[in-house]
């Protein structure tokens, strides 16, 4: 069976389970919207400030919301030791990581699709003119967040304090993603030249490549008993 077919099956299972329960997506979306509203009330930004604050609001909201989804993503594998069952299959355990990464990424992207227009309305910042570049930066940042988060989620799933442990582990390591994401988003929204935005984008690409590869390679040891 090809690696692609394995990942497709793993993704099919996760999506089917999520479609039936909508546990992860609902929690992440509601939480993201609430944080966005709270930010708006807390800062009450003027139109000038909104442009400066929106990138931070966006990425902090996504970082918080992603931990909700990530902390749940391996819970459904834990209850009946299904992660153990997955390790019995005759394929590289790294593919389990790839499947989980993709399902976590889809959940985060779905939240972003709902959050972005909501933030634009709340903060009064027009985003449509920059949507292509913004989508690219969001995609790169989201891959970085879930690449690290999926790995830490697998590590913390069997601990009693996983909801606490995951953000404690994730946020320090994902700091480059958040900083680059905020700076790149600000550069795009402010209409700065592409040369100003590029260093942040490059860092996001490098982060994604490193952590996706590392996650794939070490996943076997992370989930081993």
């Amino acid at each position: 069976m090809s690696a692609l077919a394995v990942v497709r099956q793993l993704l099919w299972k996760d999506l089917l389970l999520e479609l039936r329960t909508r546990e992860i997506l609902t929690a992440m979306t509601v939480f993201a919207m609430l944080v966005a509203v709270v930010f708006n009330f807390a800062f009450s930004p003027s139109p000038q400030d909104a442009l400066r604050l929106l990138p931070g609001m966006l990425w902090v909201t996504l970082a918080f919301a992603s931990t909700l989804g990530l902390s749940r993503s391996f819970v459904l594998e834990r209850d009946q030791q299904c992660l153990e069952a997955l390790r019995l299959f005759p394929f590289d355990p790294g593919l389990i990581y790839a499947g989980k990464l993709l399902s976590n990424l889809l959940a985060l992207l779905a939240v972003e699709i709902l959050l972005l227009p909501a933030l634009a309305v709340i903060a009064g910042v027009p985003l449509l003119g920059h949507i292509g570049a913004l989508a690219a930066v969001l995609l790169l940042g989201s891959v970085g967040l879930v690449a690290v988060g999926t790995l830490f989620s697998a590590m913390s799933v069997n601990t009693r304090i996983r909801e606490v442990l995951l953000p404690v582990l994730l946020f320090p390591l994902a700091a480059p993603v958040l900083i680059s994401g905020v700076r790149s988003t600000l550069g795009i929204l402010a209409g700065r030249p592409w040369a100003d935005v590029l260093p942040g984008v490059r860092l996001l690409v490098a982060f994604d490549v490193i952590f996706v590869v590392v996650g794939y390679l070490i996943f076997e040891y992370v989930v081993e008993e």
Binding site: L17, Q81, L88, P90, E224
Partner: protein, 234 residues
């Protein structure tokens, strides 16, 4: 030919030595029943044999090859564990399809439906597993272990949760496989173990305390030997 060989296996969890130099071989088509009290190391041994756990030292061979160097050999194994390995949010049929597809079965749908029928769940295949009783879940778990037609069956107390008729049906299923499949079974029921196996082994404190063919004795004899090994009255 040896289907499964574990050689001088040790496994430690910190200061606890769960297995201390276990050596067992099971020939192709042979059935081995492993008895032992709780904590004897039966589950650890099956996990190591299935490649789920690395031994601290020693070697596992499947048909003469090291499965840690050849992951495709895991396709030869079907395992029933203490846990069902089933997703409660999927239907019985979806669970089996998922398993069969990931094992690369070309006729996944047919295999899944055949296994549902074999464990008496054909009428409930479309229901979510979370609506199943304990016994039904165990039957589906057995179907899951068999759906890819494995050569080696590792069964860790598979009768747990089965009522009398389900246990009889499972015994019948295993009997039909005897000779064509290699079976390693752990159980607390010496009667069931002896009936299903060609050889028996008794594991106590991580050591094989007794090993013999079933010709070495009837259920009473094995019960007496077990009592001696474990140190309790028969």
């Amino acid at each position: 030919m040896q289907a499964l060989a574990v050689r001088d296996i040790t496994k430690s969890f910190g200061p606890v030595r769960a297995l201390r130099g276990v050596t067992l071989t099971v020939a192709r088509g042979e059935a081995l029943a492993i008895f032992g009290p709780n904590g004897a190391g039966k589950t650890t041994l099956l996990k190591i044999a299935s490649t789920l756990m690395r031994p601290s030292s020693g070697q596992v061979l499947l048909f003469g090859a090291d499965p840690s160097q050849a992951p495709h050999l895991r396709r030869l194994i079907g395992m029933v564990s203490h846990h069902s390995y089933l997703y409660p949010g999927l239907t019985g049929l979806e669970n089996l399809l998922f398993t069969a597809r990931l094992y690369g079965c070309s006729d996944a749908e047919a295999r899944a439906e055949a296994m549902l029928a074999a464990v008496g769940l054909a009428g409930r295949g479309g229901d979510l597993v979370r609506t199943y009783s304990r016994g039904m879940t165990q039957r589906l778990s057995i179907a899951r272990a068999l759906v890819h037609d494995p050569q080696i069956l590792l069964l860790d107390e598979p009768y747990t949760g089965l009522d009398r008729s389900s246990a009889a049906a499972f015994t019948e299923l295993l009997m039909a496989m005897r000779g064509s499949r290699t079976i390693v079974l752990t159980t607390h029921s010496i009667e069931q173990g002896v009936a299903l196996s060609d050889r028996v082994a008794i594991l106590v404190d991580g050591v094989v305390a007794y090993e013999a063919g079933n010709g070495a004795g009837d259920v009473r004899t094995i019960e007496r030997v077990y009592a001696e090994c474990v140190g309790v009255p028969a």
